[in-house]
């Protein structure tokens, strides 16, 4: 399995020096499919690499650098649009890692701009962004109403000139999900990263990444999300003694201990994240649970041609993501509406 090869290369970069051409092809295809090719390029920098691999990795790093530059410019434009409202711009995920200069940002491809604003300010944020050139991506009354009533974000908007998407969040999980993170606390503890951009606190970054990966999504792109968590934790642990203690305390406050704990077990097992176990004041160990094996099997479902494998398991996680997102009756109604509109799971 080439996803396993990718995990090993990220964890122990020196192992790539012994790969043959077929393994390199599998590794590169898996890394591109998981959007980790530029991260891989950073990791294996300085290793002895076959001649044809070098330009492939150089191209990937160049692409990632361009995306980071664009992402920071988008953040700057959004900050300018929100400045008259007195709303400070808190950026999430990739843009935040780039803005704060974190290891997690090295080689990370950044898609949309994700921002977090107070829910009470949403009614002003929306027209301010539209006045600055963002517009709705899709006009669908059901989707629009669904987003506004139940989601943790506005329907996606795209900038009319720059063609870049923005997701405006007011919290980090759908309102229908069982855990209720404290969005006010997320905003109150945000830290500055650059001139007019803020990011979540180091603990909240991990909690958001874990919530996004394990309490919301279907694990598409999970290896990348888990790599984010690995980097955030490794860097957090180096900067602050007892980082993991603060992390668990904060996770409990946001009702997200299960997601964070599982994320740490998975990251420790796959990427060797230097997690710290505790006996007091809390008991935390990182032995894999039986269910973790399913998550690992799902995360590694990628073959040497970059294709997704284990279709049934992948579909099971797709169902799980919906199960997490809303209560059963609502889920049934939602899926029925989407089915009638012609939507089919990939």
């Amino acid at each position: 399995m080439s996803a396993a090869l990718l995990v090993r290369a990220l964890r122990q970069p020196a192992t790539v020096e012994h790969l043959d051409a077929a393994q390199w092809n599998g590794l590169i295809a898996a890394a591109k499919a998981e959007r980790l090719i530029a991260t891989l390029a950073w990791r294996v920098d300085g290793m002895r690499l076959p001649e044809p691999v070098q330009p492939i990795l150089r191209d990937a790093r160049m692409d990632a650098a361009r995306e980071a530059r664009q992402a920071l410019w988008e953040a700057d434009r959004a900050a300018a649009a929100l400045a008259p409202l007195g709303v400070r711009l808190v950026v999430l995920k990739g843009t935040a890692y780039a803005a704060a200069g974190l290891v997690a940002g090295q080689g990370r491809f950044i898609g949309d701009l994700d921002i977090l604003v107070p829910r009470s300010a949403m009614s002003q944020v929306e027209p301010a962004l539209m006045a600055a050139g963002w517009e709705w991506v899709k006009e669908d009354a059901y989707d629009d109403a669904y987003y506004r009533q139940w989601m943790h974000e506005l329907p996606p908007m795209i900038h009319v000139e720059r063609d870049r998407m923005i997701d405006v969040h007011h919290t980090i999980l759908p309102l229908t999900a069982r855990p209720k993170p404290d969005a006010d606390a997320l905003l109150a503890d945000a830290v500055p990263a650059g001139e007019n951009v803020w990011t979540l606190s180091p603990e909240d970054r991990v909690i958001h990444a874990a919530a996004h990966m394990l309490a919301d999504g279907d694990l598409q792109g999970g290896l990348r999300n888990l790599w984010d968590i690995h980097c955030l934790c490794s860097e957090g642990g180096r900067a602050v003694p007892d980082f993991y203690l603060f992390l668990f305390e904060r996770a409990a406050f946001h009702q997200l201990v299960p997601a964070v704990w599982r994320a740490l077990r998975l990251a420790h097992d796959l990427y060797g994240t230097p997690v710290v176990a505790y006996r007091a004041p809390i008991t935390v160990d990182y032995r894999l649970r039986a269910s973790d094996r399913m998550f690992i099997a799902r995360l590694l479902a990628r073959d040497g041609w970059g294709r997704e494998t284990r279709k049934l398991l992948v579909f099971a996680f797709y169902l799980r993501s919906h199960w997490l997102r809303m209560p059963p009756l609502m889920l049934a109604r939602h899926l029925w509406t989407k089915w009638r509109k012609g939507h089919r799971p990939r």
């Binding site: 591109k32 499919a33 041609w305």
Partner: protein, 287 residues
């Protein structure tokens, strides 16, 4: 994947995997004269896979994808498998190539200098390149011209030449049937048939040439020639490039240099013969 091969075209290497035997067999036959790269590390992976679980066997339908894919890619029938493979390679180049400025243009070379022709689909740039390639020019490519960011040279990308509709008969009359691929009828772009470039075009596919002239040909109009200014050429080439934005400043610098150094003309032509006369004259005068 079940069936696969690795092809090198110009500076790019493609690993092509297919769920079906037929496309790989056709590629193997038509690319027989290209370098054997079966154990190479490829720049791109191309996949021809069934569009759904049953579509390998029942009304086989090809999804073209790979390192880069399009969310709304149209499915293709297995009868057009060769075209699907070619489109798959083009897609990887268009979306993923970063080592040169990619121009959607054909190019031919004579005496170490390159003639670059760009235009919309149907402008006749592929047909002209194919025919010039049989008339003493070296065919460098019919789809992509690669502009080197440092030297300013045009590098070849001599894949199979894709000929459409009435161009098929015109070219076949000149080269004979043995260098032509299978007739692919009723594709989204009409009938398509591929031409295998001459052996010297393949043998010299690592050799670039400095550009000496840029043409904007347009087939189906009365013969006319109009000089094209640097500004217009620049704008039209940015639109003919899929990676101009991705390359950033180096792309801008290379393209600026290209339009500053290379004279450009728009050429309307009613027939191949008329075009050859005009090109000969322009080449002697300007280049």
């Amino acid at each position: 994947m079940r069936h696969s091969l690795t092809l090198q075209i110009g500076p790019a290497t493609f690993r092509i995997g297919s769920a079906w035997r037929q496309p790989v067999e056709e590629l193997t036959r038509l690319y027989a004269g290209y370098p054997d790269r079966h154990d190479a590390i490829a720049d791109f992976t191309v996949r021809l896979q069934p569009t759904g679980p049953l579509r390998r066997w029942v009304r086989p339908s090809i999804l073209i994808t790979g390192d880069h894919g399009l969310a709304d890619a149209a499915p293709m029938s297995l009868a057009h498998g060769l075209l699907a493979a070619e489109m798959g390679m083009n897609l990887q180049m268009a979306l993923g190539w970063r080592r040169h400025l990619l121009l959607h243009a054909s190019s031919v070379e004579k005496d170490g200098r390159a003639l670059v022709m760009t235009g919309e689909s149907g402008s006749g740039k592929s047909t002209l390149a194919a025919l010039l390639g049989e008339r003493g020019w070296r065919l460098m490519g019919d789809e992509f011209a690669l502009l080197d960011l440092d030297s300013g040279a045009i590098l070849p990308f001599p894949r199979l030449v894709s000929l459409k509709n009435q161009a098929i008969g015109v070219v076949e009359d000149v080269v004979g049937a043995q260098r032509m691929g299978p007739m692919l009828q009723a594709t989204a772009k009409g009938d398509i048939r591929h031409l295998v470039p001459r052996p010297d075009a393949v043998a010299r596919m690592a050799q670039g040439a400095m550009p000496a002239m840029l043409l904007f040909p347009r087939f189906g109009h009365d013969a006319a020639i109009r000089p094209v200014g640097q500004g217009e050429a620049f704008m039209r080439l940015t639109q003919a490039s899929t990676n101009y934005v991705a390359l950033g400043e180096p792309g801008f610098a290379a393209l600026t240099r290209f339009v500053t150094d290379v004279p450009a003309c728009a050429m309307d032509f009613p027939s191949g013969e008329a075009a050859f006369d005009m090109i000969d004259r322009l080449w002697e005068d300007g280049a």
